[in-house]
């Protein structure tokens, strides 16, 4: 339940959604003009999911992400400076330039990293939850994954393991209804991905992923359950990506896969606009206050760009750094 006393939380939600939006607007632009290289998968349109879900977590709880994961770390509290620097492959980036866009991580705030391979991080998230349980801690682990990734075997195994071991895991499925160019209806046999929770005797709910508070409440209930030792849950957030799968991919399409109307319809349910309106309606803040938050977010991303651009490239001597904790003469092999 949302409480009037949570004003600062509600404003912080807006701020983080705006940070993600502006971060990814910048990322798409940078990629389009080849100022950054590699793949960029924009999270634009889906911000309420990461922000609502992470708002239910503590700093020392764990998350893992996927290829479309600039939003998750920002929602969890990562620095936009270091995230942006990573997109530039700079030494000041979270992964010192080793990871790039698809592999942000900040272990200091529980972000155990992102996987470019679908489903691959789910077992890792389950393992973090296992560690939490074995040490009698109450840390919760939250893997984010897409509708497409839900078809990987790793997903099944992870859910069953979490269920039989009653681990503190909240599986957050971001059903943006597409896997690259395929509609979820053609790839998943059930109506709601949350229906699959029944196969593991765990709660499964489908929630409006454009409503940050709805996500926050559904995920919050699952987190509370997990923290109380009652085991895992699956929360499916129905959302939408405004852009094509990855920057530049639109040009490669030989057949359209969705129509402009559909995109327009979803843009009318923009998560930031919805939350902004709710804040105004509820009298939580004035339009000026919200505009100021937006301006601050824009400034933070400008600063992040500046930070990233002026940061040094990694030095060739750093190539092998981080491969092992206790290095071997890897260049010998």
């Amino acid at each position: 339940m949302t409480k009037p006393g949570d004003r600062s939380l509600y404003l912080e939600m807006l701020r983080r959604m705006l940070l993600i939006r502006k971060f990814d607007e910048a990322a798409v632009e940078l990629a389009a003009r080849r100022e950054i290289v590699g793949a960029v998968h924009a999270y634009i349109g889906e911000e309420a999911v990461a922000v609502g879900a992470c708002a239910a977590l503590n700093d020392d709880d764990y998350i893992t992400g996927n290829h479309r994961s600039h939003g998750h770390p920002i929602a969890k509290g990562a620095s936009v400076d270091r995230a942006m620097a990573e997109l530039f492959g700079k030494r000041t980036g979270y992964c010192k330039g080793k990871g790039g866009s698809m592999h942000l991580a900040d272990f200091s705030v529980g972000i155990l990293g992102e996987a470019g391979i679908l489903g691959s991080a789910l077992p890792v998230a389950v393992g973090a939850a296992l560690a939490s349980k074995l040490r009698k801690e109450t840390k919760v682990s939250m893997p984010f994954f897409g509708d497409g990734a839900s078809n990987e075997g790793a997903c099944h195994e992870s859910m069953n393991l979490a269920a039989i071991w009653k681990l503190p895991v909240v599986f957050v499925c971001e059903n943006n209804q597409y896997a690259i160019v395929k509609n979820v209806r053609d790839l998943v046999a059930v109506q709601h991905i949350a229906d699959r929770a029944a196969a593991y005797d765990m709660p499964g709910v489908t929630v409006d992923g454009q409503d940050v508070l709805a996500v926050y409440e559904a995920v919050g209930a699952a987190v509370a359950r997990a923290r109380a030792g009652q085991g895992p849950s699956l929360v499916e957030c129905v959302t939408y990506r405004y852009f094509d799968h990855a920057e530049g991919m639109g040009r490669l399409l030989t057949e359209p896969y969705r129509d402009a109307d559909e995109v327009e319809k979803w843009r009318q349910r923009d998560p930031i606009a919805i939350h902004r309106a709710w804040l105004l309606d509820g009298g939580y803040a004035t339009a000026e206050e919200l505009d100021a938050i937006e301006k601050d977010a824009a400034a933070a991303i400008e600063a992040a760009l500046e930070f990233a651009r002026t940061s040094p490239e990694p030095d060739p001597s750093e190539l092998f750094d981080g491969l092992y904790t206790n290095p071997i003469a890897a260049d010998r092999y």
Binding site: G97, G100, M102, H103, G116, G119, H245, E255
Partner: protein
């Protein structure tokens, strides 16, 4: 003779084989669309039943393809090697072993198109070069063309093979353009191509390394070193005779491979030559392969990982010296 890109040559081969044989069909991730290149547009001609988009369930569809082959179809599966790790059990235990384990009962005409993508700033999860790993598994045939003509000819051969073929598509050659013979051009498995003749050193280079080796050979020619460059075209079967014959002539050997160096194709070829052409060798064999590190995202760092012209030239000099 038409000029085609490497990628368009594969499209041509697929079309040709699908028209020729109704049991040939295409399956994989997003094959109807053109987002990974090659297969876009085929759906319009061949329809739903022959151009089948699959969910991200690689264990499921890699295995389904070989099951369909066992039941009489001739599937062509499209994927990236980076996504095939999740399906590794199906390759090792079904695709490669099924025929042998059942005393030869199965016939498994299936082609797995394996995109081998590197030097693209896609970071470690999307940048594998696992061909030596598949070579360690008996029961597979493995092809790695480097020219449009070979891509066309080898692809058609692969589809007509009654054994599973991994058709490796090196991302660094996908855009290469070149002449492609008219007619029903095919290229047999197990026959290497000599890309440049030479007398001082033999280089055997795999996939995209052929181009880099030719560039190195060019540079070395200026120094008076005559390099022969061999493109094996298929890794299994491998044209060992051509390789050994060349070394018998030159007396020096360099193997160039984009894969991680330890237990690479470069290691395999050097071992082969040092074992079977030892008496011809006038200098140490040389491996030029990727450093034993994951490809980092940073372009500044990533380019250090792979063999390049400079490293190949150095290796040739080492074996000369």
């Amino acid at each position: 003779m038409a000029e085609l890109s490497f990628s368009a040559a594969i499209t041509e081969a697929i079309k040709h084989e699908m028209r020729r044989d109704p049991s040939v069909f295409l399956m994989g991730d997003s094959v109807r669309s053109g987002i990974y290149g090659v297969t876009g547009g085929l759906h319009a001609e061949f329809g739903d039943d022959r151009v089948l988009d699959c969910p991200a369930s690689e264990t499921g569809f890699v295995g389904a393809a070989v099951g369909a082959a066992a039941a009489g179809m001739r599937p062509i599966v499209t994927s990236q090697c980076a996504f095939m790790w999740v399906a590794m059990d199906q390759f090792v235990n079904q695709v490669a072993k099924m025929k042998y384990m059942f005393g030869g009962q199965a016939t498994l005409p299936v082609v797995y198109r394996m995109g081998i993508s590197y030097a693209n700033s896609l970071a470690a999860h999307h940048t594998d070069r696992p061909h030596p790993i598949y070579m360690n598994i008996p029961g597979l045939k493995i092809v790695m063309p480097t020219t449009p003509a070979d891509a066309l000819g080898l692809f058609k051969t692969a589809v007509r093979e009654d054994d599973p073929v991994l058709f490796c598509e090196d991302s660094t050659v996908m855009r290469t353009r070149g002449e492609v013979p008219e007619g029903d051009h095919t290229v047999p498995l197990g026959v290497a191509a000599v890309r440049r003749e030479g007398t001082d050193v033999t280089i055997v280079a795999v996939g995209g390394m052929v181009q880099r080796s030719l560039a190195a050979a060019e540079q070395l020619a200026a120094e008076g070193i005559s390099v022969e460059v061999i493109d094996p075209r298929s890794l299994v079967p491998l044209d060992t005779e051509a390789i050994l014959a060349s070394v018998a002539k030159t007396g020096r050997f360099v193997a160039v491979d984009s894969a991680n160096k330890t237990c690479s194709v470069a290691s395999e070829l050097c071992a082969l030559v040092a074992q079977e052409a030892f008496r011809s060798l006038k200098g140490p064999v040389q491996r030029v392969a990727s450093l034993m590190v994951h490809p980092p995202f940073s372009p500044v760092l990533e380019k250090l990982v792979y063999p390049d012209e400079g490293k190949i030239v150095e290796a040739v000099r080492r074996t000369m010296g």
